[in-house]
């Protein structure tokens, strides 16, 4: 009982601290300029003005659709490519594997600033400018995802590998029949992560697109801000909320999935 109430107290406090910025952003997005200037936490009167302005100033729905397409494709591709690599690093030993793995990890260390310009030229020479390909394919291979999945694959009990071998499974069958379902949670996690990071990319999509046909929502968000004139915080927050809303929803859904998909071990 005691323990329960302590837990709830901790949870509530932590939730307030963690969620405050998001809550505040949402709150501000419904405020009028004067409310904002008065540093209110809640709007004195809820106004939809900011949203109306966002909708009229940028083609936000079109951007959202593009973002959705890009993020979905990237997530899928990334899951497949990373999982394949992670499987090798967890289950198929060969001489020099550790070295190859570190080579993979090393790509995490490469500052993207250093790769952006050459990559841009690559994209250009491939003729992928203003194309979804430019925003998806380069992100299919992800050391981060490989690393994440490898860590989880390594917790698959060895006995299952043995049992599968005895049952006559080929490596690939073991991979998709045992490892993938076993590590479902980390796939969901990585999927969410991949989707969100792609969703949140800004500079790269800006670079490889020159017109609105395939541009994503973060660019739209950036369009709400300008330098030499006063920032309209309510508008900016409304934009931010519109951009994070889909991802927050996805997260809530994914979180449910995660909870359902738990496979607590019981090999014996």
């Amino acid at each position: 009982m005691m323990r329960k109430s302590i837990m709830y107290t901790l949870l509530t406090l932590a939730a307030i601290v963690m969620f405050f910025p998001i809550f505040y952003a949402i709150s501000v997005s419904f405020m009028s300029t004067s409310d904002i200037a008065e540093r209110r936490v809640l709007p004195s009167a809820v106004t939809l003005e900011n949203y109306r302005n966002v909708m009229t100033s940028v083609p936000i729905l079109h951007y959202l659709r593009n973002s959705f397409v890009v993020a979905s494709i990237t997530t899928l591709g990334m899951l497949v490519v990373s999982a394949l690599a992670a499987f090798i690093f967890a289950f198929v030993p060969f001489r020099g594997r550790q070295a190859v793995f570190l080579l993979f990890i090393s790509t995490l260390l490469i500052p993207w600033e250093a790769t952006m310009i050459p990559n841009f030229f690559t994209i250009q020479s491939l003729g992928w400018m203003n194309n979804y390909l430019a925003m998806t394919v380069p992100f299919f291979a992800l050391a981060f995802g490989t690393f994440l999945l490898r860590q989880h694959f390594k917790t698959v009990p060895l006995e299952l590998y043995e049992a599968a071998q005895v049952e006559g499974l080929s490596k690939f069958q073991f991979f998709y029949k045992v490892v993938v379902p076993y590590a479902k949670t980390s796939f969901v996690t990585l999927g969410i992560y991949g989707f969100l990071t792609t969703w949140n990319m800004y500079l790269w999509p800006l670079l490889v697109t020159t017109n609105d046909s395939v541009r994503t929502v973060q660019i739209g968000l950036r369009r709400l801000q300008a330098d030499e004139v006063a920032t309209n915080w309510g508008l900016v927050m409304a934009g931010a909320v519109l951009v994070i809303l889909p991802t927050l929803l996805l997260l809530a859904v994914g979180q449910k999935q995660l909870q359902k998909g738990l496979t607590k071990g019981a090999i014996k």
Binding site: A114, Y202, R222
Partner: protein, 313 residues
């Protein structure tokens, strides 16, 4: 009968040379090659090639179009080391890493632990804790920028309420780095939380049952069971947070732009500025290479010493 024979002798006497053909022996290599091919291909094109290109550029000055024109040998590197600003960047980066990594991991672990309880409504809390994962760097930074706002910011307003004078969150050299760190920690937490929670839930319940019977207290269980069993996940999170910390860019760009007086000029930001604002790819590449090497060394050390402490199944 064979009491006296050692293992070595037995092996010598009865070892059967492997009958596997070359084709069979290399089966693993072939599987590996096949599975790794997509990754390696993409990495080569989008990671290794640019990196090598960067290495090349780092020995040059580049013209206004960004193409290498003047070979300068190690001048870019030497200049960096002479420069107080680069040394400052190094220091600031290390400080930033020291502020953010332990705090992020500990905060996320704490949240994961309290969210791992079987309580009514826990799903709600989990979603809340994971929510920062859904925030783009840009959106997060903008929100924090507004909260840090010297006049309209809610933080100073709150401080004012309890009678504390306004803090120059982003314009004071010491505070600015802390403010950026706070934002970064907040942003990192959602993801780390989710991963750690997953790790926690994969720990066999029986181990805790046994420990509970022994009367192990919460923290004892944490130290002796949870952390060791969670070690693969923790190792992952620490490594990733660490690397991410070195690469934190967006929040710096939006919150401080490297200022005030370079107090938040992390190397990665410095690279960005050099490359995309000054358009000096030579020095930018040199910094990128140095950053790469530094993180590489630390990561290698982490794998060498850290992964030993990790318990895999």
């Amino acid at each position: 009968m064979h009491r006296s024979k050692t293992v070595a002798e037995t092996i010598k006497q009865y070892r059967v040379p492997s009958t596997r053909t070359f084709w069979q022996k290399t089966a693993n290599y072939r599987t590996a090659a096949l599975y790794l091919l997509p990754s390696l291909l993409l990495f080569s094109v989008f990671m290794f090639y640019p990196m090598i290109y960067s290495l090349y550029l780092s020995f040059f000055f580049t013209d206004a179009q960004g193409s290498a024109t003047t070979f300068v040998g190690f001048e870019n590197y030497l200049y960096l080391f002479q420069q107080a600003s680069f040394r400052n960047s190094l220091l600031v980066t290390l400080l930033f890493v020291a502020y953010t990594v332990p705090a992020s991991v500990i905060l996320a672990l704490f949240l994961a632990l309290i969210a791992n309880e079987k309580l009514r409504g826990i799903g709600f809390f989990r979603t809340i804790f994971a929510s920062t994962l859904g925030m783009s760097v840009a959106a997060s930074a903008v929100i924090w920028l507004f909260m840090f706002h010297p006049t309209t910011g809610i933080l100073n307003a709150a401080l004012g309420l309890i009678g504390i004078p306004a803090v120059s969150w982003l314009t004071n050299s010491t505070m600015a780095l802390i403010s950026v760190s706070i934002t970064t920690i907040w942003m990192n937490t959602g993801f780390s939380f989710l991963i750690l929670l997953g790790g926690l839930q994969n720990i066999d319940e029986h181990l805790y049952e046994s420990a509970r019977i022994d009367g192990a207290g919460y923290f004892y269980q944490l130290r002796r069971i949870t952390v060791p069993m969670l070690s693969p996940t923790l190792f992952f999170i620490i490594t990733i947070t660490f690397i991410n910390s070195f690469q934190s860019f967006g929040q710096v760009d939006i919150l401080t732009g490297g200022g005030p007086a370079e107090a938040t000029n992390l190397i990665i930001y410095s690279i960005y500025r050099e490359a995309f604002i000054y358009y000096q790819f030579g020095p930018a590449s040199a910094q990128a290479i140095l950053l790469f090497l530094a993180v590489l060394v630390i990561t290698l050390l982490q794998f060498k010493f850290g992964e030993k402490k990790v318990h895999y199944q």
